[in-house]
C-alpha cells in the first residue's frame, strides 16, 4: 500500500481496475524514441501556456507603480511580449532547444545560467538516491525471493509495506532526528559541491538521498520479489539447474533477466518521483537545488524562470523514462523479440 503520490499511475490503475486488457506490448525502437518527442512538444505547450495565462503584466510588476505606459510598452517589446502568442511560443521553444531559456524579469540573469547552477545539486542527490534504491531494493528483493516464505522474506515484505505509507518528508525529518539531533553524526542541512570535496559532499548528501530512495527501494524490492518468485518456479530454471549450471549463473543470467522488467519500470517512474519529492527534501535539508529556485521564482512571479525550471524538469523526466524504456528493450527477452 503505497501512498498515491509516490506511486506510478499505471500501478494504481492496475490495482484499481482488475486486469481487463493484456499487458501492453513493449514498443519498438522507433516508438521508444519518437513518442517522447511528441510528448515533449505537448509538455512544452503546457509550460508555455501556463506563462501566457498569467493575469499580471510582468513589465508593470517589475517597473513598479511609477512606470509610464511608454516604459511598459518598451519593456514588453524588449521581452518580445508584444508579438502574437504562437510566434512567442515557437521562438521560445527554438531558443530553449539551443539552450537559451530567456532572462529573468527581475535579475535579468539568463535563466539557463541559474538553472545549470542548481541542477547539478539535484542530479547528484537524485543519482545517489537511485543508486541507493537499486542497491537496497535489489538486494532485499533478491534475498526475499530466494528465501521465499522465510523470516527474511516476511521481514522485507513488512518493512517495504510500512515504508510505502510514509510520506517523504516524514522519512527526511526522521533521519534528521536520528542521525543529526540524537546521534550528532551527520549535518542536518547544507551542501558542498561534489567536485569540491567528495567526502564532505557525501556527508551532506547521504541523508537527503536516503530519504528520497527508501520509497523507491521499497517498490523495487516488492516488484523484484514478486516477479523473481514467479520466474524461479518456471521450467527453464529447473532445466538450467538440472543441466548443472551454477546457482549464481541461473539467478543472474537466466531468472533475473526475465524478472527485472517490473522493477526497471518502477525505477523509470521513480526518477520523476525523486525529482518531485526533491522539492520537499531540498527544503528539509536546506539544499540549493532546482526546487529552491522554483520556489523563489514562484514568489516573485518570475515567469521565464518558472517556465525554465518546469521545462528542464520535464526534459529530465522524459529523458530518464526513455532511457529506462531503451534499457527494457535491450535487457528483457520479450523486448528483443
Amino acid at each position: 500500500m503505497t501512498t498515491l503520490l509516490s506511486r506510478p499511475p499505471e500501478a494504481i490503475s492496475k490495482s484499481a481496475a482488475p486486469a481487463e486488457r493484456p499487458p501492453r506490448k513493449p514498443r519498438g525502437w522507433i516508438g521508444t524514441v519518437a513518442t517522447p518527442v511528441v510528448v515533449f512538444v505537448f509538455s512544452s505547450m503546457l509550460t508555455f501556456g501556463l506563462g501566457a495565462l498569467s493575469p499580471s503584466n510582468p513589465a508593470a510588476a517589475v517597473l513598479g507603480e511609477t512606470a509610464t505606459p511608454a516604459d511598459i510598452a518598451r519593456m514588453n517589446h524588449e521581452f518580445g511580449l508584444d508579438r502574437p502568442l504562437p510566434v512567442q511560443y515557437l521562438d521560445w521553444l527554438f531558443s530553449a532547444l539551443q539552450g537559451d531559456l530567456g532572462r529573468s524579469y527581475f535579475t535579468t540573469i539568463p535563466v539557463a545560467d541559474s538553472i545549470f547552477a542548481a541542477l547539478p545539486v539535484d542530479l547528484a542527490i537524485a543519482g545517489l538516491a537511485i543508486l541507493l534504491a537499486v542497491l537496497i531494493g535489489g538486494a532485499a528483493g533478491i534475498a526475499a525471493a530466494l528465501r521465499q516464505g522465510g523470516r527474511l522474506d516476511r521481514a522485507v515484505t513488512a518493512v517495504a509495506a510500512a515504508l510505502g505509507t510514509l510520506p517523504p518528508f516524514v522519512v527526511g525529518i526522521g533521519l534528521i532526528v536520528v542521525f543529526s539531533v540524537l546521534l550528532k553524526a551527520l549535518p542536518a542541512g547544507g551542501y558542498v559541491a561534489l567536485d569540491q570535496d567528495p567526502v564532505q559532499w557525501l556527508r551532506f548528501a547521504i541523508l537527503p538521498s536516503l530519504a528520497l530512495s527508501l520509497d523507491i527501494a521499497a517498490s523495487i524490492a516488492r516488484q523484484l520479489r514478486t516477479s523473481l518468485v514467479g520466474q524461479l518456479g518456471e521450467n527453464y530454471v529447473t532445466g538450467a539447474v538440472v543441466r548443472g549450471l551454477g546457482a549464481r549463473r541461473v539467478l543472474f543470467r537466466h531468472a533475473l533477466r526475465n524478472a527485472i522488467g517490473p522493477a526497471l519500470t518502477v525505477l523509470g517512474i521513480g526518477v520523476p518521483m525523486v525529482l518531485g519529492g526533491a522539492v520537499v527534501t531540498e527544503k528539509i535539508f536546506n539544499l540549493p537545488g532546482l526546487a529552491q529556485l522554483a520556489l523563489q521564482a514562484s514568489g516573485q512571479h518570475d515567469i521565464p524562470l518558472i517556465q525554465g525550471t518546469l521545462l528542464v524538469t520535464v526534459t529530465v523526466v522524459l529523458g530518464c523514462n526513455t532511457l529506462v524504456n531503451l534499457a527494457l528493450l535491450r535487457l528483457t527477452p520479450q523486448g528483443r523479440r
Partner: protein, 276 residues
C-alpha cells in the same frame, strides 16, 4: 470482475478494517467542519511564557515556538487541509472521467490527442508544477490544488478508460447499438454503472494522495499565509526546533498518515472484486 460484487461494491464496508477507516474519516470530516469550534484554545493565541512546552493536561500536544497550543492548531487546520484535498480530487474527476470515456467512443483522432496529452501531463512532477502554477496565477491554496487536480486527471482518465475498454466490445453494448440506442444513452445506462465503482476506489486513493500533496505544499509555505494553521505548516514550524523538541513533528505527521491510511483502507474496502 464478477458482476455480483461490481453491482454491490459496498458490501465489504462491514469488515473491521473498513469500519475503523470509516470511523476515522468521520472524525476527520467532523473536525474539518467544526475543528475550530471544538478546539480548547485559540489556535492563533501566542503566549511567550509557554513557548515549546511538552505535553500537559492543558496542552495535550504541547505548545509551539510562539506558545500556541498545538492541539488547537491541528484541529483548526483540518478544515483547510481537507477542503484543499477534496478540491483537487474534484478537479481531477471533472477533467479525467469524461475524457476517459470520450477516448473510447469518439474515434481514433480524439483518442490519439487525449493519450498524448495525458502522457504530457504525466511528465509534470506534482509539487514543482503546483509551485509553478501558484507563481503564475497567485499564491493561493485553490490555485495550487487546481494544479494538483490537473495532474490527477490522467489517473482518472486511465482508470475510467481501462474500466470502459472491455465494455466497448461487450455483447450487450453491441446489441444496444444494433437496436439504435444513441451513444449518450449507451454511456448512461450501460457503461456508467460499471465504471463508477472503479472510479470511486481511485477517488478514495487520490484523496489520500491529495492530502499528502496539500501537506507538502503547505509545508513549503505554498497556498497559506501564516499564522493560519494547516497540518503541513505545523510540521514546517516544528522543523526549526528539532533540537528542543525532537518528538514534535510526530504529531502532525501522525494526523496526516492516519487520515491517508484510512482513505487507503476505505479504497480497499470498496474495491470491486475483492480487497487485494
Amino acid at each position: 470482475m464478477s458482476t455480483l460484487t461490481a453491482a454491490r461494491p459496498f458490501t465489504k464496508l462491514r469488515l473491521p478494517s473498513a469500519r475503523v477507516a470509516v470511523a476515522v474519516l468521520a472524525v476527520v470530516a467532523f473536525l474539518a467542519v467544526a475543528g475550530g469550534a471544538v478546539a480548547p484554545h485559540d489556535p492563533l493565541l501566542q503566549d511567550p511564557d509557554l513557548a515549546l512546552r511538552g505535553p500537559s493536561l492543558a496542552h495535550p500536544f504541547g505548545t509551539d515556538y510562539l506558545g500556541r497550543d498545538v492541539f488547537s492548531r491541528l484541529l483548526a487546520g483540518t478544515g483547510t487541509t481537507v477542503l484543499a484535498a477534496l478540491e483537487s480530487v474534484g478537479v481531477g474527476l471533472a477533467l479525467g472521467v469524461l475524457p476517459g470515456l470520450a477516448s473510447l467512443w469518439l474515434g481514433r483522432a480524439v483518442e490519439w490527442v487525449l493519450l498524448r496529452a495525458v502522457d504530457a501531463v504525466m511528465t509534470l512532477p506534482f509539487i514543482v508544477f503546483a509551485i509553478a502554477v501558484t507563481g503564475v496565477l497567485g499564491n493561493g491554496l485553490t490555485q495550487a490544488m487546481v494544479a494538483i487536480g490537473v495532474l490527477f486527471a490522467p489517473l482518472f482518465f486511465r482508470v475510467t478508460r481501462a474500466a470502459g475498454l472491455s465494455l466497448t466490445r461487450a455483447q450487450y453494448v453491441e446489441a444496444a447499438e444494433l437496436f439504435g440506442a444513441s451513444r449518450w444513452r449507451i454511456l448512461r445506462t450501460h457503461v456508467w454503472g460499471k465504471v463508477v465503482p472503479t472510479v470511486a476506489v481511485t477517488a478514495a486513493q487520490a484523496t489520500g494522495g491529495a492530502l499528502l500533496a496539500v501537506s507538502s505544499l503547505t509545508f513549503l509555505g505554498i497556498g497559506v499565509q501564516p499564522p493560519a494553521p494547516t497540518w503541513g505548516g505545523i510540521l514546517a514550524s516544528d522543523l526549526g526546533f528539532l533540537a528542543q523538541q525532537p518528538w514534535a513533528p510526530v504529531i502532525p505527521a501522525a494526523f496526516i498518515m492516519v487520515a491517508v491510511a484510512a482513505l487507503n483502507a476505505l479504497a480497499d474496502a470498496i474495491r470491486p472484486g475483492g480487497a487485494r
